[in-house]
Amino acid sequence: MALSGALRLPPRCRWAQRLSSAAWGDTIFALSSGHGRCGVAVIRASGPGSRGALQSLTGRPELPPPRVLALRRIRDPTTAETLDRGLVVWFPGPHSFTGEDCAELHVHGGPAVVSGVLRALGRLPGLRAAEPGEFTRRAFRRGKLDLTAAEGLGDLIRAETEAQRRQALRQMEGELGQLYRRWSETLTQALAHLEAYIDFSEDDNVEEEVLSQGEGRWGGREGSGAPHPCCAPTPDIATPLLTADATVRALEKEIGAHLQDGRRGELLRGGVHAVIAGPPNVGKSSLLNLLCQRPAAIVSPVAGTTRDVVEVALNVEGYPLVLSDTAGLRHATDPVEQEGVSRARDRLQQADLVLAVLDATVVPSEPTGLGDALGSILPPTACPCILVLNKSDLLRGAEGALRATCAQEDSMPPITLLSCKTGEGLDRLLQLLAQQLAQLCGDPLAGTPSLTQSRHSLHLGDCAAALAQYRQQRGRDLALAAEQLRLARRHLGRITGQVGAEDVLDIIFRDFCIGK
């Protein structure tokens, strides 16, 4: 309870941390290119010591012109032994990736050369090996990237498929950050209007021609007895409340839509998790092996061969797919197989996409019968699904009706015949897979940028909740309603960066004439 807390404040404990103002040269370095034997390796240094490092290693007091490659003999400064001949670049801050002074050494990629140069750098005073991601962190702290852009860069480095790359690049270039900043600005604007109404509508005159609208309900209910006439303020005193309300409503809708994009960005970033499921011995593991074109899972004619979940990552037309093969679903008696079936069911619960496999030779041929067979496999929650009827090579005579059912373009879910043995029907399956993936991940270049991190959707969810609270409080207590907008803005700020009280006042004074 704040009340008693305020009265019982502990005596102020001020512990001062005094520091000397001397600069301490924290310069980091690392091998920036890949590891292993290669043609060229790039070693990068960032920090105030980069200049000295470049001078020491080239053995020359003069630096090459900024941002121009220069050929230099690279030497160990302690032994003066030549380590390599390579290209060096000098990036004086702030015009560098990290915003600090940076140097790059492009040397031959042999392990001995690389370790020799790294060892030489490590011996220089004030230089130390970089921690993972430290260059990007420095760039972020120097304001070279905002948080979402830094996240985008991380994704770009890790991007494995074309669609992932497109999305990450878009985010790194700041599009997602811009969207959140625009929302934050909109909120700030709404808050400014509300604050203007709270701080000025009755004290001074906010001179805007907007009519006053429904106020709170605090008036005259407590203590003072008579109702307060102030509930009807002079009509031409500005009431920017309507504007604020409309803005909040629109924003709530927009954030809601963004949140309900079906985790497209997240799926694209992390890969769509598809689960192969079905009864035992229908060829689920064969399907996995067929798709990844190698024997990743053990296959045998014995039902219940697969016990654990086998996972492979695939790239399907640019979309990342993480495919899991699971144990066949049946009532097992063997405890190991029981565990496998239970794992398979768990996996199905979390699947983004299900590849349901049935044996084409034993399934009913009409759609309703197929639907029932499918229902016994799928998890109760709605989840996109492709029905694969395997062993089409074994179909004889009676397949006419089945082929007709599979040929229906608009069947829900999409159905295809496949022979894992001959590979017949694989093209059709890949086509269906690509369609489903495109639907799940969306086009990373179209429309508003997608949510890529669950961190974002968490904060956005909190933000949307605060906006809903605003609507509730708005009729009761404006101060509480304003508090919800402040809260909503703080949640957005956690994603990108913050805005202070001065920003609100700036808008107030730009938009309204306030005078005594």
Binding site: M1, G143, H228, D236
Partner: protein, 697 residues
């Protein structure tokens, strides 16, 4: 640990009879000694002097004219939104202005009644003459406080204490007659008088206020000492004769009945509710706009570049920025018997004959007579970033600044600073730790932190929107926030007030506990109090405190449903009202608590005053470094409030402060290890291999 209990009361010199010490004729050659000397008798000066004396310091108040003590130089009103909060806090520290306004108002009104108690704005039109009289009576009868008419020409300076920043220490003042007064600390509250200039049309004359001499010697002293000064401007409207105004047809605004007092000590205000005066609303016309536009060449004040306030601007700037509109003019009474009307919104600096034309173009004022023309004032102010949170200057030890001289506008802002400066001048003179109010504790904390951290380029005014913890810092609970601390740590609060605050606190705690202990199922509540629409989705059972949150619920309603034990609580009107407010804000205050703790922690992290922001290696952009260097924040908390400082920069600076030594050690160690080169430690980027990626189609 602070020295507890009432040391300052025990340390009193032999009790002096409260008496009026008009020391005008004292011989100048005799050096005199006080613990605190306050320069200036305005709203900051009087509060500072009274607070220092309440704290037990022998105090001297120096003013040009005793007759102008308590003068309301501009508008005849006190309080308002945000400003009312400040007055409640001044009152909670036993300051003067709240109590005096309860004895001199002629029209009391709580603004924002319908917007929630956290932003209620207590405000009153004040009888100028009565307020001045009350203030002089109060000041001239305060024990330990001496008032003296004199001009201050210079400061008496001495060697600084070596363990603190500052190039010298204030040890007293040198008066106009050449005599010196020694003091433990000096409080400067010179308002607009530092090189003050009054402007009407093209005419300028040196004056702090129309008819009063400016302080020039003191301004030179401050400049010589190396204080950074700036220049601001403000203005005041012409005054009109009431009997020449036609109020028929103008909109009337009546006062509250019953009026709500400012002070926690007042049960009621002095005036009978029905005897209160009204204010009237009229509007400017396009003709006024035309006159102003045609005569800009005759108006020095408006054309000059000195920064004026964005709020409370002159009529000229309103017309220029927002043309072709009607602008509101409130006609406010200046007192019960006064024939003067103050036209709020008409601040202007045109030549007097043109002011008359503008006035006469306004409905109701066609025949109005101007008693005193409006005028502008330009004055020097001190860049408040040179002050600490106790309002002591960093350059000159024991020299405190408060009020308009620090770049603020408004009586309430001045009074609030005055109390804090007075308390701290007293504590400083006795070598005690300062009394600081944080942003999480009060509006006065926000005011002082904003000023000392961010400085100001326009006259600073209090708004509720400046306050992060508005839900917790409400006018109703100022006593709970500050009275106890003022009593324990500053000794500036009387025994009587403290006892009253403690009684209220205990009653509130008991009341809340009682309300929380009464628990019924939702359906039972719905049956007991059908007038409250209790949401069926909330958890059951609910306590009476939960139910009290609903706008439709009140202690009266609850007491009817559960007379035992609630009837007793509901009868104590003041308590019932406060319980209702506590209930309405409980969840919000609770959710802010963690944030408040964060701010307090940040404020406990002090930054060295001599930190070289250009040299430290903390990954800060050049722009951020420059801002840090010019603002010189005292704590990490202050850093986060400087505009343009990114949260990342704050985190980074924090990390630098926290781990500086640790990291240096670590860097040394890793260099040592580097000699043996375990090759893996040079990996720049941890690899995140995705298992088995193969390509299909």
């Amino acid at each position: 640990m602070l020295v507890r209990s009432s040391w300052c009361r025990l340390a009193l010199p032999p009790v002096q009879r409260p008496r009026h010490r008009r020391a005008v004729g004292e011989v100048g050659a005799v050096a005199q000694r006080y613990e605190v000397v306050v320069i200036g008798g305005g709203h900051a000066g009087t509060e500072a002097a009274a607070a220092a004396a309440r704290g037990g310091a022998r105090t001297l108040l120096l003013t040009h004219r005793i007759g102008t003590i308590g003068e309301m130089s501009c508008n005849p009103s006190f309080g308002g939104i945000g400003k009312g909060h400040l007055m409640r806090e001044v009152d909670a520290l036993d300051g003067l202005c709240g109590r005096l306004c309860d004895r001199s108002g002629v029209h009391y009104k709580v603004l924002n009644r319908c917007k929630g108690p956290a932003v209620w704005g207590l405000r009153a039109q004040i009888d100028r003459g009565r307020y001045k009289e009350e203030m002089q009576r109060e000041i001239l009868n305060t024990p330990l406080l001496t008032v003296r008419e004199a001009s201050v020409e210079d400061l008496l300076l001495t060697e600084p204490e070596t363990d603190r920043a500052g190039k010298c220490r204030a040890a007293g003042v040198i008066l106009g007659d050449g005599s010196t007064v020694h003091a433990g600390s000096v409080v400067l509250t010179t308002g607009t008088f530092l090189r003050g200039t009054v402007l009407i049309g093209l005419e300028t004359r040196p004056a702090g206020r129309l008819g009063d001499q400016p302080a020039i010697g003191l301004a030179q002293t401050l400049e010589r000492l190396g204080f950074a000064m700036g220049r601001l401007k403000t203005g005041t409207p012409p005054r009109l004769a009431k009997d020449t105004i036609d109020f028929r047809g103008l909109e009337e605004r009546t006062a509250d009945n019953p009026p709500v007092p400012f002070s926690f000590l007042s049960k009621a205000v002095w005036i009978k509710p029905e005897a209160q005066l009204s204010c009237y609303l009229t509007r400017t016309t396009l003709k006024a706009q035309q006159i102003i536009r045609d005569n800009l060449h005759l108006n020095n004040h408006v054309r000059e570049t000195t920064r004026g306030p964005r709020y409370c601007p002159s009529l000229e700037s309103k017309v220029l920025r927002f043309p072709d509109r009607q602008h509101q003019v409130w006609l406010e009474p200046e007192g019960l018997e006064s024939n003067v009307i103050y036209p709020q919104g008409m601040s202007m600096t045109l030549p007097p004959e043109l002011q008359e034309q503008v006035i006469k173009s306004i409905p109701g004022l066609e025949k109005a007579k101007i008693l005193q023309p409006g005028y502008g004032v330009q004055y020097d102010y001190l860049d408040p970033r040179q002050l600490t949170a106790s309002l002591e200057s960093r350059l000159v030890q024991c020299l405190f600044f408060a009020g308009q001289v620090n770049g603020t506008t408004g009586y309430e802002e001045a009074a609030a600073q005055g109390v804090i400066a007075g308390i701290n001048a007293c504590l400083r003179a006795r070598g005690k730790p300062p009394f600081l109010v944080s942003r999480t504790e009060g509006y006065v904390g926000v005011l002082i932190d904003d000023l000392t951290t961010l400085g100001t380029s326009e006259p600073y005014r209090m708004f509720t929107s400046r306050v992060e913890f508005r839900m917790s810092l409400r006018p109703d609970n100022a006593d709970a926030r500050l009275t106890h601390r003022g009593f324990e740590e500053a000794g500036c609060v009387s025994q009587q007030r403290h006892q009253q605050a403690v009684k209220m606190r205990d009653a509130l705690e008991d009341g809340i506990a009682t309300l929380k202990s009464i628990q019924f199922s939702i359906s039972k509540w719905a049956h007991l109090i059908p007038e409250v629409p209790i949401s069926s989705s909330r958890r059951s059972p609910a306590s009476a405190f939960d139910i009290l949150q609903y706008p439709e619920a009140s202690m009266d309603v609850l007491a009817r449903a559960v007379p035992e034990p609630l009837a007793k609580l509901a009868q104590w009107r003041e308590l019932a009202e406060r319980l209702k407010i506590e209930a309405a804000y409980e969840w919000c205050v609770a959710s802010q608590q963690q944030e408040i703790e964060e701010v307090r922690r940040d404020e406990a992290l002090q930054l060295p005053e001599d930190l070289d922001y250009f040299a430290i290696d903390a990954s800060l952009s050049a722009e951020v470094r420059e801002k840090l260097d010019s603002n010189r924040p005292q704590t990490i908390g202050a850093v986060s409030r400087i505009p343009g400082i990114t949260p990342a920069a704050v985190v980074n600076l924090l990390r630098f402060v926290k781990t500086h030594h640790q990291k240096t050690e670590k860097a040394k160690a890793s260099r040592q290890a580097g000699k043996d080169l375990p090759g893996k430690m040079f990996l720049e980027q941890a690899s995140f291999p995705r298992a088995d990626v193969s390509r299909v189609s």
